[in-house]
Amino acid sequence: MERLLDVRDMRVSFRSGKTSVEAIRGASFHVNEKEIMAIVGESGSGKSVLTQSCLRLIASPPGQIDGGEVWFCGRDLMSLSESQLQRVRGREISVIFQDAMTALNPTMKIGDQITEMLLQHLRMTRADARALAEEILPLREEPEKIAQWLQRNLRSSGERLAEDTVALSGFLREKEPRGPIEQWLLQRGAYTRAQAREEAVRLLASVKIPDPQKRIDQYIFQCSGGMRQRVMIAMALSCRPRLVIADEPTTALDVTIKAEILDLLAQLIRSLGTSIILITHDLGTVASCADRIGVMYGGQFMEQGTSREIFYETLHPYTLGLLQAMPRLDLPRGGALSTIPGNPPNLNRMPSGCPFSTRCRYCMAVCKEQQPPQAEWNGHTVRCWLYDPRAAQQKELFDAEKERLHVRNDA
């Protein structure tokens, strides 16, 4: 499968005065085309910081990206200039934030907040036209390639695609195609305020907001919680991005609306063929919809694998702890829920070894002193000393515990 986003060894720290804390300590993950990748972890584990750093969105100062590569469509986003990155943000990768109430501008109409984004990305500027013409010129008269290019860059489809292909082929036959092509692109890419507004109404309707014509001129504080999140989703999907980062999109919502919003999101994503990074602190949320899951703790990925692997072939004690902590209706009442003792790690005082060593039931002396290496089986990765052959004694205990959980689940 093709990797859409490939993040390698990200390191992010926050500085305050003379002290600095490492929030992300060498995290790597990837997202495949058209897949839902879930990142799960407790608050403070670095989920949001990691994904926002991929778009260089963290406030700097105090935040600072110390290293790492973020490969997206053949480019390392970390090496792009700010203006190059602006063309990626929103257009190719967009973000859905947790609390739409604060994440949307309180003094700007909902419609304006959507259209400003559409106009920014979909209106063709002279410079855009020049750059695109440069790409078209080598295509010559190969309708196949022209059509492909059109689909990719102008999002033409159906009849429009056929028309566009004919028009472009016509220009390419001319002696001096550059000028006419630029002109055509400018015209083809012209995007008026009225068009943007129409599109915004259509987008609001697509996220099932009733009466979008009216809503578009309202402000965010006039909407209910669920409505706000729908606006946020409509905005994030407005430019048909290839990747959406959904940062706890349902955490601020009532339980009743939660599932609705999540379903809507999944449905829209599927119809657009977009990939999604779904950040959550709740394994239950992602159980049904995620293709792959990464479990984060202390700024690192403890375990990554397909949903199946995470739930049924658990490798890391932390993941096991999370699974045991999920409430279950089928078990007899009265039994206390299992918890992971202790608190999430304090970034100021990270242990020098495995970050989870302070709370791990299978902790060994080595865990406290040395960071465990990453082990991998067919894409299922884990960072734990249990998978060192010398830890056989502890691993037996772990396997037994895992067995108990799964026997219970199967029953």
Binding site: Q52, L55, L57, A59, E82, S83, L85, Q86, R87, V88, R89, G90, R91, S94, V95, F97, D99, T102, A103, L104, N105, P106, T107, M108, E116, M117, Q120, H121, Y219, F221, Q222, M235
Partner: protein, 310 residues
Amino acid sequence: MLKYVVRRVITAAITVFVLATVTFFLLKLVPNGLFADPNITAEARAKLYAHYGLDKPVFEQYLVYLRNLAHLDLGESIANPGRKITTMILDPATGNGLPQSMRLGLCALVFSVPMGIALGTLSGLNRGRALDKALIGLSLVGISIPSFVVATMSVTVFGNILGWLPTTGFSTPKEMILPTVCLSLNPIATIARLMRTSLVETENADYVKTARSKGLKRSRIVVRHQVRNALLPVVTILGPITASLLCGTFVVESIFNIKGLGCYYVESISDRDYGLVMGLTVLFGTFLVVANLTVDILYGLIDPRIRLKR
């Protein structure tokens, strides 16, 4: 919004009424009464009392006062017998009094508000850089140094010693420079500081992060998302700013010898011209109430959260 405006207007009207009443009765409390000059005979004094209607019971005086006030008639000046106070304040003949003060105040307001906002924005956008630090220092100095110190110093230096600018009057453009600048320094510094703080606060706001995640250009984020929201708190202090400008005019008028209301007020108190004191007090109060009302309504207009509240 309508309800909001109506409530504000009613509060404002009540405030003016209370102010007029309190002023009236407070001035009745002044010991020694009026015409304390021992050279005036008892007979002459009784005549004067009758002339100004002061021989009637206090409550009746109060009703007369209110009725006259409603007709914008403030009575006759005591220090300048025979002159109507309303005429003195408006002074259409010489252009002194209210028109003069209004011009001074407006000049300062028009100069200081955009200037303060611009400097504050400049400072906030360059947070932590040398320009920011310089502007912070300047605005701190601008807030700390009283306007009368600035005014005396600048009159001495630019007027008397260097002779660049005239030291008195407020009619020609050249005459207007020094008083306007002296009166504006404090408001500029206050506005700039607030603007900077609130702009820096928007920098960390979630919606600004969202705007960045949308791939908007920095210029657009600054203008449409940051400055617009940062202006809201600035609007709220325009009321107090107007009040401090009013006090400032007292000083600037006295230093630059401008015959405005501040000048009259100080004179009227020295002369114990109670009619004028009362009239000017009510006028100043009303002016402030109207200024605050305007600011409140303005705020409601630019903040949709207030405008659309039912």
